[in-house]
């Protein structure tokens, strides 16, 4: 556990407004659980007694005092899922994983949980594995869900998958192509732009495959830093029309064919992007 990191989390929060829950949520998001030392630190820093902090940490279902596995599978036990046989799904997971809900496999790979309701009631029985929803789950699918969870949910074959396609991009200002055949990424010409960081401009190459997210940088920008992006041809800053839906940072726009824009978040580490099919108005 990194004390500095936790102090940072506490500092960022609004202590006076009773932000304990938000602090604990952030700590949990970082460590998958609430380590005892972190709770002590929170108590100390916020001026609450450890009893209070412990009370909160044990009252709410979202918190765990035990480390969780690398992957998390939650079976919904809402009423709608229950009447459609969710209990049998839980039993099947218990049988396959040899752990009870709330437990983690000995290899620390998978934690099994039940939740009261995911609000996807029309699709019951519902299972969520690492944020990926499985609707209308049957007992027979349980093994497959476990297997897919273990081998990373979003693994996509960029060569064969229909959902992956190339975006030919150009500068919205000077209209020059940004495609760079000399530095391929994902086996295709990359998209070359410049990023301004550490006091100078550096080339930044993105995969031109929509859905890949691959990036290459010569001089990495520090994580979470928001840096303006430039066209290597006209040297102008790429315009911003939107803010990132994921993190609220400004987004930079690249031109896809006449009028459409691909907008990407300018904060390093954020994967927020929008493929905007509406005409963008440069004036």
């Amino acid at each position: 556990m990194d004390t500095e990191n936790i102090l940072e989390i506490i500092k960022r929060s609004d202590k006076n407004r009773g932000a304990i829950i938000a602090i604990l949520e952030e700590i949990q998001a970082t460590y998958t659980y609430l380590p005892e030392a972190a709770l002590r630190l929170v108590a100390e820093e916020t001026g609450h007694s450890l009893t209070d902090i412990y009370g909160v940490a044990t009252f709410y279902k979202a918190f765990s005092l035990k480390p969780r596995g690398k992957h998390c599978i939650s079976v919904c036990l809402g009423t709608a899922c229950h009447v459609r046989g969710a209990q049998a799904i839980v039993d099947e997971f218990k049988y396959e994983l040899k752990i009870a809900p709330g437990g983690t496999t000995p290899d620390n790979e998978i934690s099994l949980e039940t939740v009261n309701c995911l609000g996807a009631c029309a699709l019951g029985p519902t299972v969520v594995a690492d944020g990926h929803y499985f609707p209308h789950v049957t007992k027979g699918e349980v093994r497959e869900i476990i297997a897919r969870t273990k081998e990373e949910m979003e693994k996509i074959n960029t060569e064969t998958d229909d959902r992956i396609f190339r975006l030919p991009l150009s500068c919205p200002l000077c209209k020059a192509s940004l495609m760079d055949p000399d530095h391929p990424l994902d086996g295709h010409p990359s998209v070359r732009i410049d990023v301004s960081a550490n006091g100078r401009k550096n080339p930044l190459r993105l995969s031109s495959l929509y859905g890949s997210g691959a990036v290459a940088m010569e001089d990495p920008v520090p994580l979470n830093q928001v840096s303006p992006l430039f066209c290597p041809h006209c040297d102008e800053e790429l315009p911003s029309f939107s803010i990132c839906p994921e993190c609220g940072s400004p987004m930079a726009a690249l031109l896809v064919r006449a009028g459409c824009a691909w907008e990407i978040c300018t904060r390093r580490g954020c994967r927020g992007h929008l493929l905007n099919l509406n005409q963008i108005n440069l004036s």
Partner: protein, 1084 residues
């Protein structure tokens, strides 16, 4: 985007969206990107749509709108194409390009359009779909027009116009008045008048301190998701509602409290707040009108009780979410001690509508004291799951059947549950109840936040009560002792009942506890915690009693009472899993013994059993195909010589029993009694044994030699049969009892057909189905000729139709049935076979003014209705004493009746005439039992004999009865079951003092090694269907239609079995093995 400083500037900006009609002309693809849509794969479709638009350069010709939840979640992922509102349901990625290409050309893709399940009628637009037609979507309807992360979409729809209006006047008391006048009630569930709440909040002075408005989006009620869908799909409506609320009550800060399980709702609300702030609609000096107001999003951390307002406040304050005593109400002392007004998401979403359209318009929707609409999440055992918005006061029937499309399978809907863990169940018999706050409360439930969970016959109400109690015991904050302990104890009692340890005293205790918890707890959670128990006890008490007395769960949900479902379903307690396992191993003789031990009629059952086991097969109910158990039984009985099973017969006792009727019930009882050693004499009115097996079942379903052979195996020296001797004609009950018999078992069946009660019904050429079938089956007489009409939809109607078709003077056979084909009570396959052979089924046609048919007789008798009065007479056309035709009238399906089916309603003016030479009336049978009443027995109007449900004893000592005589027309297997029960009961009666064993669940007890199946086999294996004779091979003869499975197929079919029995025997066998070793070790 720029920040606006004045209302006028913002108005101009807003207007620019309203006038931009250019966009409207382009076709637009609308797709749900909400949690439900994403879970069903809409993200993939969106990718493909974008790809197609870009690659084909279509962005000038087509737009795409990714919205939040559109409500019709059952059809996800689906696309709606505007302007035609063509809805394409349940799409796959490969369907998308076709739809895009058609949309660009202004065409539709016919084959992908929505149609109701089972129907071929295409619905061209959303407005034509019954699911949408029945709704009034003033709130939810907006979702379709809004991409929640684009404020422009909301403005285009007229969004924030209400806010402009609210900002205009400096005195904002009118806002409170307007909401008061609109009679809007809190949509969170309790239904407090929102206007009253606002009025109190407005009048609360806080000496310059802050005042809060909180939007409660905790939505902890499992099974409800409308708040999530609104916050995800149209967050600006809620933000606008909150700002207006803030203006009305003078709040300075707003908080949206969202549960952490809703990440997308949190994201969309956060983006919307950010965008509103950028436009100057939030923050300091909103649009230059001197008002400061901010909203922030707070994540709940997973506690149901935090939906309670005082707990919610504590949670925001960073404490444990324990409710506190009220007063002071949050309106006086709320968040951090300041006045706080808490409104539900849906309540706030209604506010802009009311301000825009005026309170008067709003009160026109809904009913007295219940103005406006309510959104329900219609989920569970229903065809069209999704979100449904209807005016308050709409009857439950309309929501469940018209909008929801009725049951999802053949199982009937038996109840809905509203209000979540604080609510209750409402039985189907009360579905004409209007849905409003007051009616639901009167029925023992509550409106709640709007969960409406539909339950069918496969839902166990005791299990539902247990489920909610388990939920509540976990979610009780623990502050009040009675809630903390009371919910735990209630849960334990329910566990005892569902696991077979229940006693009648448990129900008394449960009721007492329920009242105590209700009366002695502080917050809403505790006070309503008993509702699930109290409402199920109120409406479904007999289910509790069945669990306790019979140790049976009628819905097959409670595992410890069900064991292997196939076994639990069998009326004669066969262990299908066991003989299926034996066939898999190739031990057919053992398989036969397993079948025969439970059932004296293996070969007969292998042909005509209605297969309750297959209906309950775990494979079938979990979405796969049930094991073909009956076909496997046929395989075994065709192959194995019955002599491999030798029943043990006790030495003859002195006592004698008379059995009346040699049908399946009578023969089974006689056989059973003879084995115990009683002398049995069977009196049979006909000249041959078999009852319904030989006189009504056609030989192509049940070959005569099979019946004869099987009956022969049941006879032994203890049994004597006297043919041609009928009770009432040749002897009386008193004669029998005075003679030498110590007990009598009546099993005379149901051999009288219901009459149409039409004029001319006795002319030549009209036959009751039973008379028609008997004449042919017993005497070989062919009564039908020419054009034959059959009235009715039951098995005997279908049998009669097929027998008629096989008679040589018949030219055509038409079946007239008054409901649709899906509702025909005959077995589905029999109808299919009849159709293949050329029987025309004319559905929705019934003879004029006939109101009663066999299924109604069943249902009505159960309810104690007097039947004869409902039948109205009418003319049949005849000439010279012989039928020449009938007049029919067409029906349409009307309202759903108490049995959950739609009533046929005659269409005036649709009468038509049918020329007929023969008419067979097959609207149902009843026992011919008037003569029994004169012998002192209790016979009801339907001719059925009243007996003790458990012992089959009649009102006369020593006289027992079973089979169709007691139940009305029923299946062969139920008759066999009655015979078995009678034998036990009569034995107990004759050996006075023999102690009755307490009921116990029938669980698998023998461990049989399961077959090893690899994954591919498990996934690819399909149900084995036995071959049948082709129609031309069978239509003019009586050869058996269904053939036997070949050996390889039968054995492969057995490998598909999930072996539900192992859950009960695997552990036991393991521990037995373990204990054997230990014992072995000791001996060493």
């Amino acid at each position: 985007m720029k920040t606006f400083q004045t209302v006028a500037a913002f108005n101009a900006y807003r207007a620019s969206f309203l006038t931009d009609k250019n966009e409207e002309k382009k076709p637009c693809i609308v797709i749900c990107g909400g949690t439900g849509g994403q879970a069903s794969g809409s993200n993939d479709l969106i990718r493909i749509i974008k790809r197609r638009i870009l690659e084909q350069n279509l962005h000038d010709k087509l737009s795409l709108r990714v919205t939040g939840c559109l409500g019709f979640c059952e059809m996800d992922p689906f696309i709606i194409v505007e302007p035609g509102y063509n809805l394409y349901p349940k799409l796959k990625m490969e369907n998308v390009p076709k739809i895009i290409d058609a949309a660009v050309k202004g065409e539709v893709v016919e084959e992908l359009l929505y149609r109701e399940p089972g129907s071929t009628v295409k619905r061209y637009s959303e407005q034509e779909i019954p699911f949408f037609q029945g709704q009034t979507r003033i709130v939810l309807g907006q979702n379709q027009h809004v991409d929640p992360i684009r404020i422009g979409d909301y403005l285009k729809m007229g969004g924030y116009a209400a806010l402009e209006k609210a900002l205009e006047k400096q005195d904002r008391a009118w806002l409170v008045d307007e909401i008061l006048k609109s009679k809007l009630r809190g949509r969170g569930g309790a239904g407090f008048m929102t206007g009253r709440k606002w009025e109190m909040a407005r009048n609360m002075k806080n000496g310059g301190g802050p005042k809060y408005i909180i939007c409660n989006a905790d939505e902890g009620d499992p099974g409800a998701y409308m708040d999530r869908s609104m916050l995800e799909g149209n967050p600006h409506a809620i933000i606008e509602g909150m700002i207006i609320a803030a203006l009305a009550i003078g709040a300075s800060d707003g908080i949206i409290y969202v549960r952490t399980e809703y990440p997308l709702a949190i994201k969309h609300a956060t983006i919307a707040i950010r965008e509103a702030r950028r436009l100057g609609l939030l923050g300091k000096n909103i649009l230059g009108r001197g008002v400061d107001f901010e909203i922030e999003v707070f994540h709940g951390a997973g506690a149901f009780v935090c939906g309670e307002e005082t707990a919610l406040i504590k949670s925001i304050e960073g404490k444990m979410g324990e409710p506190r005593q009220r007063p002071p109400y949050p309106i006086e002392k709320g968040l951090f001690g300041h006045p706080t007004c808490i409104n539900n998401v849906e309540t706030l979403a209604n506010v802009p509508y009311i301000i825009n359209h005026g309170a008067e318009a709003y009160t026109k929707i809904g009913v007295e004291n219940n103005a406006g609409t309510k959104i329900f999440s219609l989920v569970g055992k229903i065809k069209n799951t999704g979100l449904v918005e209807v005016p308050l006061g709409t009857p439950i029937n309309k929501v469940v059947y018209d909008i929801g499309g009725g049951p999802v399978s053949a199982a009937r809907i038996k109840a809905i549950q509203t209000g979540g863990p604080s609510g209750g169940c409402i039985p189907a018999s009360m579905f004409d109840l209007p849905i409003d706050y007051d009616s639901l409360a009167k029925a023992g439930s509550i409106m709640g936040s709007g969960g409406m969970i539909v339950m069918d016959e496969n839902t166990c109400m005791v299990d539902v009560a247990k489920y909610f109690m388990s939920f509540l015991k976990d979610e009780s904050c623990g502050k009040c002792f009675t809630c903390r302990k009371g919910t735990q104890r209630m849960h334990e009692i329910l566990e005892d009942i569902t696991e077979g340890r229940g006693t009648p005293e448990h129900l008394v205790l449960l009721e007492e506890l329920a009242l105590t918890v209700k009366d002695t707890t502080m917050c809403g959670l505790g006070q309503t915690a008993a509702n699930p128990v109290m409402s199920t006890l109120r409406y479904f008490r007999e289910e509790y009693e069945r669990h306790i007395e019979d140790k049976k769960c009628g819905a097959f949900v409670c595992k410890q009472l069900t064991g292997a479902p196939c076994q639990a379903a069998c009326p004669v307690d066969t262990e299908p899993w066991r003989y299926v396992a034996m066939v898999e191993k190739g031990d057919y003789e053992e398989a036969y013994r397993v079948i025969r031990t439970a059932n004296p009629f293996p070969a007969v059952s292998a042909r005509v059993c209605d297969r309750k086991c297959e209906n309950r097969c775990s494979l079938g109910v979990s979405g796969g195909e049930a094991i073909a158990i009956r076909a496997i039984k046929r395989f075994v009985t065709d192959r194995v010589n019955p002599s491999v099973y030798k029943p043990q017969r006790a030495r003859k006792k002195k006592k004698e029993v008379a059995v009346i009727g040699a049908g399946p019930a009578g023969l089974t009882a006689a056989h059973g009694l003879s084995l115990i050693g009683y002398g049995v004499t069977i009196y049979e009115a006909e000249n041959q044994p078999g009852g319904m097996l030989t006189c009504s079942l056609p030989a192509y379903r049940l070959p005569r030699d099979i019946v004869e052979k099987e009956i022969k195996t049941l006879l032994n020296p203890n049994i004597k049969i006297e043919y041609g001797r009928a009770l009432g004609k040749d002897m009386t009950l008193q004669d029998l009892l005075n003679d030498r018999f110590d007990a009598v078992f009546l099993s005379i069946g149901a051999h009288e057909s219901w009459r149409l009660d039409l004029e001319n019904e006795d002319v030549e050429g009209i036959f009751p189905s039973i008379q028609f079938l008997k004449a042919f089956n017993i005497r070989g007489e062919e009564l039908a000729r020419g054009h034959v009409g059959i009235i009715g939809g039951g098995n005997s109607a279908v049998d009669a139709a097929r027998v008629a078709l096989r008679q040589k003077d018949v030219t055509s056979v038409s079946l007239f049935y008054r409901r649709t084909r899906e509702e025909m009570p005959a077995y589905e396959e029999e109808i299919d076979a009849a159709l293949e052979e050329g029987v025309k089924v004319e559905t929705l046609i019934s003879p004029v003014k006939i109101h009663v048919r066999q299924e109604d007789i069943e249902a009505a008798l159960k309810e104690g209705v007097e039947l004869e009065t409902l039948v109205t007479p009418i003319k049949i056309f005849s000439k010279e004493g012989r039928i020449i035709g009938i007049e029919c009238i067409k029906n349409r399906l009307g309202e759903v009746d108490a049995t959950g089916r739609r009533r046929p309603v005659p269409i005036p003016g649709s009468e038509f005439r049918v020329e007929l030479d023969t008419l067979i009336v097959a609207i149902g049978e009843k026992p011919k039992s008037e003569f029994l009443a004169s012998m002192g027995l209790d016979v009801n109007r339907g001719g059925r004999l009243k007996v003790d449900r458990k012992t089959l004893e009649t009102s006369l000592k020593g006289v027992f009865a079973g089979g169709d005589l007691v139940t009305g027309p029923n299946t062969v297997i139920d008759a066999i079951a009655a015979g078995k029960k009678a034998a036990k009961s009569i034995d107990r009666f004759l050996q006075k003092g023999k102690i009755e064993k307490a009921a116990a669940p029938k669980l698998p007890s023998t461990y049989i090694e399961p077959a090893v199946i690899d994954e591919t086999e498990a996934q690819t294996a399909r149900r084995a269907e036995p071959a049948v004779l082709a129609p031309h091979e069978r239509v003019k003869n009586f050869r058996e239609v269904t053939l036997v499975l070949p050996e390889d197929k039968a054995r492969a079919e057995c490998r598909r079995c999930l072996r539900c029995d192992l859950a009960f025997t695997r552990d036991k066998s393991a521990s037995q093995a373990a204990s054997h070793t230990i014992e072995g070790a000791k001996h060493d």
